[in-house]
């Protein structure tokens, strides 16, 4: 039975009545040690014995899902939570919009659903792997705590997806759940499924950009799945979204604090040279935005996609806030797209359903633009003349219709030679990474922050900024 109360005494905290489903419980309990082993191998292992001020969900109520206290990460209670729902759920989009939602997997959509869930699930452990060493160069205990909060919650999101695989997809689902612990971010032989999740994320600028841009893709994917006609998926992802918001907060405010600090350093330096002051210059911040924003755009999939059309038509995946739209079939409508034809950009109309990835990407880009405006306000308030921009959606793409062409950040077609000559000015380079690593030294004293980042305006859950968010000397 699905309820608001969480069974916390269970080995696996949950509100899905695991105790009443011994077969499923057995399967998940068998998966649990493998998960812990993976966490030990690939998580932030070196900090396993440090108590971290984490929030843990103990109930899915508004006041119960964020319960704070110092916890050692391996003792974190990874659980399975589905959003409760009062009214009967319906299929929200596609040919069957308005009909009752599925509480079991419909046979005809089984493979597609499994693929959607596995792809989503794969991103969760991937990001933990990408970020596993960042604790060693954390700019503060506050930031370190945020990193670990993000990490344990990505772990919990993996649990949410693995629960669906175990519960609804039989033996195939169990096999897929096992595979999720075998793939490794960046491994040439067993890479994670999606490109951005195989990119190195080895310093904090990338971490903030990742949580800002890549986790934000996650938000939009989860939001689209929260509209799914497969009710257990919709409820799982709804709950994940509440946690995801914090990850985006970490990224957006992290970059904002860097920008604020760089503006300060610019002012301090007689030549306005941020680097001279050991900070992160604006060109480098811009290259980081360009790099992670575009890798994240890739995650939405092809601009013209039959899969996207199928997922929408069958009610498996909706648009962002589909439930707030008036029309849910999206037939007989088209979407205007810029395509490259004969070496020029031209407009082409494609059926709306086939453009659903692009529709979701639009919502995402709008959200990113909002963050850019905020950062530029920070610059304005600091009296800095610098402004940051989002590159064109065509720039630096590895998936979709623009991947085979070269564009400048403004979205103009450029030649291969131009790209070769200019790309080091446009996206993160090895030299950038080397510089960033050189300035990123750990700061483990409560209330202290690295020189290249400003402190946050306030602490976590009413605690002061100088609170000992991670107890390094317990």
């Amino acid at each position: 039975m699905l309820s608001n109360s969480v069974d916390l005494n269970s080995k696996i905290p949950n509100n899905v009545g695991l105790a009443d489903d011994p077969k499923l419980l057995r399967a998940l309990e068998k998966w649990l040690p493998n998960y812990l082993e993976w966490w030990h191998d690939m998580g932030p292992t070196d900090f396993e014995d440090k108590p971290v001020y984490l929030r843990t969900a103990i109930s899915v109520d508004t006041d119960g899902w964020a319960n704070y206290g110092h916890v050692r990460m391996p003792d974190y209670r990874w659980g399975i939570f589905l959003n409760p729902r009062q009214e009967e759920s319906t299929i929200r989009c596609g040919d069957d919009a308005g009909k009752p939602a599925w509480t079991e997997v419909p046979g005809e959509h089984r493979n597609a659903l499994r693929r959607i869930i596995v792809t989503q699930a794969d991103t969760e452990p991937a990001s933990v792997e990408q970020q596993r060493l960042l604790g060693h160069i954390a700019p503060s205990l506050y930031d370190m705590r945020n990193l670990f909060q993000v990490n344990v919650e990505e772990g919990r999101h993996l649990w949410a997806m693995v629960y669906l695989l175990h519960k609804y997809f039989g033996r195939d689902g169990r096999d897929e759940a096992d595979e999720l612990l075998l793939r490794r971010s960046g491994d040439p032989d067993k890479p994670r499924i999606l490109g951005a999740f195989n990119q190195p994320c080895d310093h904090w600028l990338s971490f903030f950009a990742f949580t800002m841009f890549t986790d934000r893709d996650g938000k939009y994917q989860l939001a689209a799945l929260a509209q799914s006609g497969f009710d257990p998926l919709a409820r799982s992802t709804e709950f994940m979204l509440t946690e995801e918001a914090h990850h985006l907060f970490v990224g957006e405010t992290g970059l904002d604090r860097i920008i604020k600090r760089s503006a300060e350093l610019e002012k301090i330096d007689p030549n306005g040279d941020v680097r001279n002051q050991g900070g992160i210059d604006f060109d480098l911040i811009q290259r980081t935005i360009n790099y992670w924003f575009t890798y994240s755009l890739d995650l939405f999939g092809g601009e013209i996609s039959s899969n996207a059309a199928d997922f929408f038509a069958t009610g498996l995946k909706g648009r962002y806030r589909e439930d707030r739209l008036d029309e849910h079939r999206a037939l007989g409508q088209s979407y205007r797209l810029q395509v490259v034809d004969g070496g020029r950009l031209v407009e082409r109309d494609v059926p709306l359903r086939n453009a659903m990835n692009e529709v979701l990407r639009d919502s995402y880009i709008k959200d990113c633009e909002r963050a850019l405006r905020k950062w530029n306000r920070t610059l304005e308030e600091s009296g800095s003349p610098n402004r940051l921009t989002l590159p064109s959606r065509r720039f630096h793409r590895h998936q979709g219709i623009y991947a085979d062409h070269k564009f400048d950040p403004a979205g103009n077609l450029v030649s291969g030679e131009t790209w070769e000559k200019e790309h080091h000015r446009w996206v993160l380079t090895p030299a950038d990474n080397a510089y960033l690593l050189s300035i990123m030294k750990p700061v483990y004293e409560p209330g202290k922050f690295a020189n290249w980042i400003a402190p946050p305006s306030r602490g976590i859950e009413g605690q002061p900024v100088e609170f000992e968010y991670v107890k390094m000397h317990d």
Partner: protein, 568 residues
């Protein structure tokens, strides 16, 4: 391969383009081929913009006829131009995808005739791969370094061994049934259970699972022969290829150095109603819906050359009559199939001196241990099978000046009827040689004479080893002739027969001929062309596939298919 659009001339057909099959490595757009001693690398890197017809992009290494014409050329040239190759590794030059199969948008936008012709040609090419393995000591290995779907997996199935990259996502699949509502019609279903002996219940699961099967399970189910991790993938496959090459080389006579010959252009002389090659002429009359193929037999010099032995034969290279004439015939047949769709009846003549043809066959057969002659003979077999599988009526006309003997008699035996002139003023000879005794078998494994006399074993027995020239009446008595006509009747009777044939339903004739031409048992090849293709061609015209709401029509479109659930 080249495409000509008719400019103000009579459109060739509804597809309004003329397909040419001649190509060479300097013109490839979709493949990279490299040779290193006994190993060849064949890399598929399809140019998305390089479709043979406008209106679709060849994404993800998907293919259309143009891509397959190049593959056919690669396979054929490797046998003649690179006989030193023992193992050929087929892989993809595109990251993370081996081959996504036939381009669906191309299929969905094509006429039924185009689809059928395309599938037949691709099937013939897959069979050529296997033929090279069986008879030329050239083994194909598939290195599926990425997704291997539909026709991509069918290409893999035509290789002797299949290796799949083990990266957690690359899978082999046949998604045609669940995604498109059609069959994996390029031999997929047949090779799965007959060649690779995948258990049929597993084949059922596999063929209805759109995403396919990857990793260890693919090995366990015998869908692939091995998996290797991505970082070592090509190294491991190349290691295996060298091993295979060594094993295959050990089967060959020691010390035999094979040096290839060049296959030059055929460059036919083209008019609006004909294609004239050196030994072959194809001409057509659209109004009468008939065409003629005339093959001119070898000359005494051609025969003498064969007698000079391997060095002279090698020096003659692609100018050898048996090679040149059959390459020309092949090109003519393909032209007929793709560019003359409304021609229903093709009249076949073999001109020449009967004695010389008989001597030619004996001389060629005498040199069969020379690798090049073996290739020439195998090639003749493939062209004749192309004729067997062409869905046109063929009437062989044995009038004055013809010499249906040996390898040319095969043309008459491949035809649906053989009219022979019995006129003492113009004596016509017919005769059997070793070439009529299984050297150039049909796709179901037996000789044409055996298929021809399937119901008359006594006559077959009587002809065994009877390598002599026969008078028309003797030929008729032997059971070789459909209708024997004297000179008074010839003109009228053949005219009436031709007009009558040209008036019958083309669909019924195609079906009837495909059934009557192949008496006897089945082989894997013949099952592909008969059972698999016939079902596919039926499905292709069913509304559930190609109707306005059919799965193939709607693939990639926003609407979902609506099926008529009645089983037929």
């Amino acid at each position: 391969m080249a495409v000509r659009f008719f400019n103000g001339m009579e459109p060739a057909q509804s597809n309004e383009l003329v397909v040419e099959f001649a190509t060479d490595p300097s013109r490839y757009r979709h493949w990279r081929v490299s040779y290193e001693g006994p190993i060849a690398r064949v890399e598929m890197c399809v140019d998305p913009e390089g479709g043979i017809k406008p209106g679709y992009e060849l994404k993800l290494n998907s293919y259309d006829l143009g891509v397959d014409i190049e593959l056919a050329d690669i396979v054929r040239r490797m046998r003649f131009e690179h006989p030193e190759v023992r193992a050929a590794v087929v892989s993809s030059g595109t990251d993370n995808v081996f081959c996504a199969g036939a381009n669906i948008h191309m299929l969905a936008a094509s006429t039924h005739a185009w689809k059928v012709n395309f599938c037949k040609f691709t099937n013939e090419t897959r069979c050529e791969l296997e033929d090279a393995d069986a008879f030329s000591h050239q083994v194909y290995l598939c290195a599926a370094n990425g997704t291997c779907a539909g026709g991509g997996y069918e290409l893999a199935l035509a290789c002797r061994e299949i290796y799949l990259q083990d990266d957690g996502s690359s899978a082999v699949s046949l998604p045609e049934v669940p995604l498109l509502g059609v069959l994996p019609g390029t031999g997929g279903l047949t090779r799965l259970v007959d060649k690779r002996r995948v258990r049929r219940d597993r084949a059922d699961v596999f063929s209805t699972t759109a995403e396919g099967i990857r990793g260890k399970k693919a090995v366990q189910w015998r869908l692939v022969d091995g998996i290797f991790p991505r970082s070592r993938f090509l190294d491991e496959v190349m290691k295996r290829a060298r091993k295979v090459a060594d094993a295959v080389a050990a089967e060959l006579p020691e010390g035999e150095a094979r040096v290839g010959i060049k296959l030059g252009d055929l460059s036919p002389e083209i008019t609006e109603t004909s294609r004239r090659y050196r030994h072959v002429e194809l001409s057509w009359d659209r109004a009468a819906r008939t065409a003629s193929i005339t093959v001119r037999g070898p000359s005494p010099e051609d025969v003498a050359l064969l007698g000079e032995g391997p060095a002279a034969i090698h020096a003659a290279g692609d100018q050898l009559w048996a090679l040149r004439a059959f390459r020309e015939l092949d090109d003519a047949l393909l032209y007929l199939r793709f560019n003359l769709p409304d021609v229903g009846l093709c009249l076949v003549r073999a001109l020449g001196d009967a004695e010389v043809v008989a001597a030619h066959d004996a001389a060629l057969w005498g040199q069969r241990d020379f690798w090049l002659v073996n290739e020439v003979i195998r090639h003749m077999g493939r062209v004749l099978r192309r004729l067997d599988l062409s869905s046109r009526s063929f009437f062989a006309l044995g009038d004055a000046g013809t010499a249906f003997v040996g390898c040319l008699l095969e043309l008459a035996l491949a035809s649906d009827r053989f009219y022979l002139l019995d006129d003492p003023e113009n004596p016509v000879k017919v005769g059997l040689t070793i070439f009529n005794e299984g050297v150039v078998p049909m796709s179901h494994g037996i000789s044409r004479i055996r298929a021809h006399l399937h119901g008359e074993p006594d006559k077959l027995e009587a002809l065994a080893g009877r390598h002599e020239l026969l008078d028309p009446e003797e030929a008729d008595d032997a059971g070789l002739v459909t209708v024997l006509l004297d000179d008074i009747d010839w003109e009228d009777d053949t005219r009436v027969a031709i007009e009558e044939r040209a008036s019958l339903s083309p669909d019924a004739l195609t079906g009837m001929e495909a059934n009557l031409r192949f008496p006897g048992g089945e082989t894997e090849d013949s099952k592909i062309f008969a059972r698999l293709s016939a079902w596919q061609n039926w499905i292709f015209i069913r509304p559930n596939a190609t109707g306005a709401q059919g799965a193939l029509s709607l693939y990639g479109k926003p609407e979902r298919p609506i099926f008529d659930w009645k089983r037929v």
